[in-house]
Symmetry: D3
Subunit: 134 residues, 6 copies
């Protein structure tokens, strides 16, 4: 089970969060934090500390499963397209295949309707295309 | 990867869906279909055919991951407590540990807020207790 | 096309709303207004004036279609079960058949997912049963 | 009551869905299916089979009422602007007047708030303008 | 407590609403009403009469608190970015500081998740930048 | 401006959060944390640390305004009735009047529809009645 590698006890939530953010979101996450610098720098810090330093760093659920959960939820909610794209990329980063991501999104048609799944699939198409162009 | 076992080509969507429903939801799913018999029997059939016969039967994503996706989405949406409980039980049925289910729900605090995660955790507590009582 | 019957120019929004409320919701609507009397009486008045005096009284869409729209929306949102039940009864009051109501709710599986449609169907079953008991 | 014309028993769900899709959505629906071809072709097939082959083909509710239900729900949800525009066009295709569409959307202010209705009206204005330009 | 200034008894809801709209939303509100003129002029009137003539004109809650409530709700819902921007500007118009607006939006991470708060903060950044450019 | 009283630098997030929780939610908040003890004790800790230790403890927005924001958001979302009741009580605890709470909830009719406001008002009526009974 691939979870975040063990941490020394002395590591702060912020440092652990930064490590998790880099491993999971790559550049996408850091760009969000940078974009907050002039308007709500503390929120950029919270974003590193709570979601990444506290939640994604926990043992008990591997990172691939965590990204399936996040992709499913953001597809179903349908209110956070930029964050959904970041996490489709994050899914690829932690080892999900394109097929696994597409299956996760398709399944949301059952729980949140066809439009939610369609908009999720179009987000995935965009992220996959950006990976090929890179 | 545990997905629904291979099916003969001649199996109908309905029969395949019934198999998937039994394997995943156990009694909970069939009770929902029965409850529809007097008001919308066709909808009971669709419920077997599309979500279970079409979606959950697909290869490409294992059943444990499918249940993580569903538990995450229903927790985040917050509008389907009865169905969330059915799928927390389904998660146990297909091999998720209690810890994995709890971690999935906790993570939703990040994407849908603390109340959504709290209400999901209380649903899980109820399902876990019912399993112990049984 | 059955819309609210023509009104004299001198009728106030409140009186027109009361007429529409009585015709559409019957007792259910008035009970809601009464329940607001001790906490937010002005809101009871707004409820009569804007939704019923302004919107439901408009020509241009018949009352049956208006109730289809409301039943669809409340089923899809999934956050207003008491109001959904009031409007399933209202649909019957203005002439929708049980079949038309059930079809409207079932269709929401496509746009808001199967749990939303299921919870809507169970609300309809309850309202239909109450009509038979009465 | 205008519903999908009777079908021979031998017609598959897919063929029936294609007929319904063409009659209801016209080009808009087919474009969505085409857009899925490279990322999730099976989902394009499901989209034809379940919403159109199963649901919209059912007797019991005429196509005009079905489109009122869909326009109402998508306006209220507020998370599917592209699909709302497709169904405003679909409403025109199956015989709804602009007034009926506008009244349906306006009514959603009561159930989902003024911003949802406003964003729905602006979608309608865009679709109506595209019809005039064509 | 700054609420809308006392009105003569003879003032209509429409006139009172226009006053409130001008005081709260400034140009942004009137532009929305104008944009409705060709598609749903009555809805433009309702928008002035109910939200502004009835609700925002009420004593009992000052305009600063009313804008905090609206900014919080629109951030949490995540389905009305144009209206959120109008009300971030409205918050500045009635005397909220940038800090108070940013704190209100940040707090929504707790109740609606981090993506909702992030998208709200980016809306605020845009509105604040437009104020500086003006 | 009433915000949480100044804290010594050495106070942990957990201790600061406990202080804020006690001041704002009183018994209600602690009961939630206790209820998590057997299923997700870490989540009980996060609930104290992030919402209360990080967010509600911040200067820049007074506690009355913070509760208005929370009551507005939970009313508008309509998916968290237990938490809405806790925060209606919290509003009273930090000095909001019943009128201010009722006005905040009523205003949500504009942004999330009349059913959301109605269900919020009924929650308030229940909390107010419990206060009188106590």
């Amino acid at each position: 089970m691939v979870t975040l590698t063990e941490k020394p006890d002395s590591e702060t939530r912020y440092d652990r969060g930064l490590r998790a953010l880099a491993e999971i979101d790559g550049h996408g996450g850091q760009q969000v934090v940078d974009a907050l610098a002039d308007i709500a720098p503390d929120f950029g810090r919270y974003l590193i500390e709570f979601p990444f330093g506290d939640i994604y760093s926990r043992p008990g659920l591997d990172l691939r499963s965590r990204e399936i959960a996040t992709i499913a939820a953001l597809t179903a909610l349908g209110t956070a397209q930029p964050q959904l794209k970041v996490h489709i990329q994050a899914g690829l980063n932690v080892g999900l295949s394109r097929v696994e991501i597409v299956e996760t999104i398709m399944q949301m048609a059952v729980y949140a309707g066809f439009p939610a799944a369609l908009n999720g699939l179009f987000a995935a198409r965009e992220v996959f295309a950006a990976n090929e162009a890179a």
